[in-house]
């Protein structure tokens, strides 16, 4: 996966809580057997009407948010199904960073395995970012994973927490299986011990 150290990009605010992975990518698009090409289906039922035309009342269709790469949303983002097609769709669409007051556990993991940075800020901070993205034109944020900080060009500055392990994975873009296989002898030992029990 692509390493991510500092990311600067346009913000797209989606002021809803409990956005589940069925909304991020509906079930009818889970049938592909590759990891690519899911961006066109992102938020499909919200973005398009029954005839496949963009819904003008869904904000992601607003030209103002074209090429946004930072998604800011309400709490419990990514709840529900474990489908990794959700981060694949977000990434393929162009989102590199997701900011929310909280994330669902499986989704959070799936993001860090795909080079998407999940940033947890407070509810007040996310609300402020969503309001600014709403009111400004071309509102951008800078997210610095090395120092775990988020800035805008006005006066916003906040720090966030991310455990050391996913942070290192994201900073280096490591292949996790490759890392784990360096512990193969420990896995062998564990299995040998289990066998004798």
């Amino acid at each position: 996966m692509e390493p991510i150290r500092v990311h600067e990009g346009r913000v797209y605010p989606l002021n809803r809580s409990n956005i589940d992975t069925d909304q991020i990518i509906p079930k009818q698009f889970l049938k592909r057997i590759s990891r690519q090409g899911f961006g066109q289906f992102l938020f499909f039922n919200w973005r398009f009407d029954n005839e496949g035309n963009p819904r003008p009342d869904f904000s992601l269709n607003d030209p103002k948010y074209q090429h946004a790469s930072i998604l800011v949303a309400g709490e419990n983002f990514g709840c529900g199904s474990s489908r990794e097609h959700a981060p694949w769709a977000l990434l393929d669409y162009g989102f590199k960073v997701i900011i929310a007051p909280s994330f669902a556990d499986i989704f959070n993991n799936n993001c860090t395995k795909n080079g998407i940075l999940p940033v947890q800020l407070t509810e007040e901070e996310t609300q402020l970012l969503m309001d600014r993205a709403d009111n400004e034109n071309d509102y951008t944020l800078k997210v610095d994973l090395e120092n775990k900080r988020v800035y805008d060009s006005i006066d916003f500055e906040a720090s966030f927490d991310l455990p050391e392990y996913p942070r290192e994975m994201l900073l280096n873009g490591w292949d996790e299986i490759g890392v784990t296989l360096t512990y193969a002898d420990k896995i062998d030992q564990f299995e040998a011990k289990k066998q004798t029990l």
Partner: protein, 471 residues
Amino acid sequence: MQKPKTIIEKIWDQHVVHQEEGKPDLLYIDLHLVHEVTSPQAFEGLRMNDRKVRRPDLTYATMDHNVPTIHRHIIKDQISKTQMDTLKSNCEEFGVPLADIDHPDQGIVHVIGPELGLTQPGKTIVCGDSHTSTHGAFGALAFGIGTSEVEHVLATQTIWQAPPKTLNVKVNGKLGKGITAKDLILAIIGKYGVRFGTGYVVEYTGEAIRSLSMEGRMTVCNMSIEAGARAGLISPDDITVEFLRGRRHVPKGEVFEKVAKEWKALATDAGATYDATVEINADEVEPQVTWGTNPGMCIPVSGSVPNPEDAKTANGKDEINRALEYMGLEAGQPISSVKIDHVFIGSCTNSRLSDLTRAAEIVKGHKVKSGIRAMVVPGSHSVKKAAEAEGLDQIFKEAGFEWREAGCSMCLGMNDDIVPAGERCASTSNRNFEGRQGAGARTHLVSPEMAAAAAIEGHFVDVRKFSIPTA
């Protein structure tokens, strides 16, 4: 004396392969269940990196999400077919056992694991499916993972996991007559919301939990993820042991007695502490019906749809308004007045033999209300055969239900079993998300008994007041 431990800590400690400062623990996985939707990219990853499946003998695959539940071999959707064919060729290539569409063991992955005795107390179990928490009913540490993690477990039989916080969900007292495990778990999520379990592994404790059958325990643990908890489990006891006795993958004879003792010793020690505890009184639980677009939006069948004006926050108000609009409901409307178009009895939450038996008791001698399409989709081929041996299929068919082959079916409508836009379904599944059963479909989650009664009456009724005919 050793510090008292929860079952969660005991299982964890037995599975740590490697521990080091600043890293999650490397945890060994005893059983990896695989299905057609979340595995193709994982097998492809192995192939690209010239990697093998480390322990095909600890891996077990089936087809459930996409499979047709009628005309098994006429798969209209070529992409679905490709996904099933891909699983078959991947399993052949990597030596993974597979119960494919024609196999007598085929079924929903979370139904067949316990049925075959693959699911056992003390095991760590993963699957690329969030309802893997179901297996926690046996006192296993079972959780859903994404496809990258599926690939990781295939290649290494391990997973990196930070030790979880523990949450005791304590159910005091006994459930009333006619109240099911489904009502209990919906009431818990209704009371505490859809994220109180995030970051935790839940242990369900208390008298009402102890009294549940294994099927009931599976229904409860299944929906742990709807509260945000990746895993939810129940300490093993005699009910667990007797359920597993004689199952195919469980040891036999004296070895079984020895293993059964070890299983029961895994139960949480007296005096063990949790990071958090929430409680609910079982005798307060009524039959539940969801009204909105997440499982926490649920009310007793005697209740009314909430009013957005009663929300505590502006965001809460927006959320209720959006749900009402999507669901086509009015604030304050009694939920029992809501008319339905479809009934679905099935899914990894409620498709086991006892679920079907209890629904059939309600249905017997009645007819599905005219205009309603009702279907029963057994959780596995074995459940279907056992139900047919008891004549349940006849009861359902005579009442006007469709009797289908095993699969996930209308829980998520990846096959042809879809609820059309704007139509309303009483469903025994686990998620009432927007579009879950079909774009624009409106889902109300209920127990199998409540779904059966709604099929007959055409709207939601308190199943406890539903008269069972005296033949």
